[in-house]
């Protein structure tokens, strides 16, 4: 590749970058001289006709057209802003007290009116929709019957969970000092159940957690004394 071609491409890329900056950072679109830019583009494309230069040239032309559009919008908006410039507004702001600034805003401000609560009409529509929903299958009904008709089943589950929690806590206490979280979880056959139960022990303050923020390692230990202070942080651990 000749040096001239490389310089031309670099120049085109610089143009694209400048024009892109004007668009993305909403800078003054008149800060670039479009006519001299187009003249330079013509010079480059007349000299270099390889595919890469042509595609860069097309990209530059597109950016120029965007900036021209911005210039058109700029003029339109300037006209509608009564040609009051930012300098004048700045001096007005400096010389006015907050009350006057608010008074100026109130002259032009018409806030949106919006209902932000449920209306009776919406409630009725929701209720009708609820009634129109088909009843779910027998599994749901059985669940409901279980809740109403077999309260003893819940008590059995609860006592089982309490027992398992006690066993896990005893196991953790038997370790004595700090143990790696993943080592402890992997000791049992069902990792997910162990992780789930351990999260309960941690939430209840019966197990302590320590995290090494540098290595990301998590350590757990049975608490010597159950903390009565509420836990204000939470820790999410992904179980594979």
């Amino acid at each position: 590749m000749s040096r001239v071609v490389r310089v031309s491409r670099e120049e085109l890329m610089r143009m694209i970058s400048i024009l892109g900056e004007i668009e993305s950072r909403r800078l003054d679109p008149f800060s670039v001289d479009v006519s001299s830019l187009l003249a330079r583009l013509r010079e480059i494309i007349e000299r270099e006709r390889d595919v890469e230069t042509i595609s860069l040239d097309a990209e530059t032309l597109y950016r120029v057209s965007v900036v021209l559009g911005l210039q058109q919008r700029w003029i339109r908006e300037r006209a509608s802003s009564l040609f009051i410039d930012a300098g004048m507004v700045y001096s007005k702001i400096i010389g006015s007290d907050p009350k006057s600034l608010v008074a100026a805003l109130l002259q032009a401000w018409r806030p949106i009116v919006r209902l932000e609560q449920v209306s009776v009409d919406l409630l009725l529509r929701g209720y009708q929709h609820f009634l129109s929903r088909p009843t779910r299958g027998s599994a749901g009904l059985e669940g409901a019957q279980l809740a109403v008709g077999k309260p003893g089943a819940y008590a059995a589950i609860e006592s089982q969970i309490s027992r398992e929690l006690g066993e896990l806590l005893a196991e953790l206490s038997s370790m004595g000092s700090w143990v790696r979280y993943w080592d402890f979880i992997n000791m049992g056959s069902d990792k997910r159940v162990r992780a789930y139960l351990l999260s309960y022990l941690i939430s209840r303050g019966e197990a302590d957690v320590r995290i090494n923020s540098l290595t990301g390692e998590i350590w757990v230990k049975a608490a010597e004394k159950v903390s009565e202070e509420p836990r204000t942080t939470s820790l999410a651990v992904t179980i594979g």
């Binding site: 950072r25 009051i84 930012a86 004048m88 702001i93 600034l101 008074a103 100026a104 949106i112 009116v113």
Partner: protein, 202 residues
């Protein structure tokens, strides 16, 4: 118009109000096509009637065209209900904004609108810091951005947000700013004249 037609129109207007005021979107207002779907193809007429009715109680329908399709495409335009008359200074207590926050909003919007809608955030902050401490300015800008009055970009540009485009009349605001000094002095003169009259009366 027969009584039956009038009844239908009333019903449609009630539907339109419910749609515009209680839209379930994150943003307030409703698109034209949503109104068309519920009210039928004559929805612009219903909106006109609604607008006349709302004006009696100090409200009006505001139609904001979609920037891409322009004012002709009512389906893409967004319909809002806004206040039709200016608020008084004594009303701002009920709006949930402090006087300082509104002063910051006023100054920021006027400055941005005078610069065609956007400026470097740093530049705006420096301007506002001539009046308020930095923490106050940052908190206000953050809150106003969340409410949609301002728009912050990662490139450090502050521009007017969607809510400003709906709620604030650009020309009115700039006109009010242009007459700020004269407005204050005329207000002071009026106050002075009033007090002189009072003194003479006593």
């Amino acid at each position: 118009m027969s009584g039956e037609d009038l009844g239908k129109l009333e019903k449609k207007m009630a539907q339109a109000v419910a749609l515009i005021l209680a839209s379930g979107h994150r943003l307030p207002g409703v698109r034209g096509w949503e109104l068309r779907r519920r009210l039928g193809k004559n929805f612009p007429k219903i909106i006109n009637s609604l607008d006349s009715r709302l004006k009696q109680i100090g409200l009006r329908v505001k139609i904001v065209p979609d920037p891409e399709t322009g004012p002709e495409d009512l389906d893409r335009a967004r319909f809002y209900i806004v206040l039709s008359d200016p608020l008084a200074l004594s009303d701002i207590q009920t709006l949930g904004y402090s006087l300082d926050e509104l002063a910051i909003l006023s100054a920021t919007l006027a400055y941005l609108l005078a610069k065609n809608g956007s400026a470097a955030e740093k530049e705006v902050m420096e301007m506002l810091e001539t009046k308020y401490p930095r923490w106050r300015v940052e908190a206000a800008i953050e809150r106003l951005s969340r409410r949609g009055y301002l728009n912050r970009t990662e490139e450090g540009v502050l521009s007017v947000g969607w809510r400003t485009l709906v709620e604030v009349d650009r020309q009115e605001l700039l006109k009010a700013f242009a007459s700020l000094g004269t407005m204050e002095s005329s207000e002071k003169e009026t106050e002075k004249a009033d007090s002189e009259v009072d003194e003479r009366e006593y």
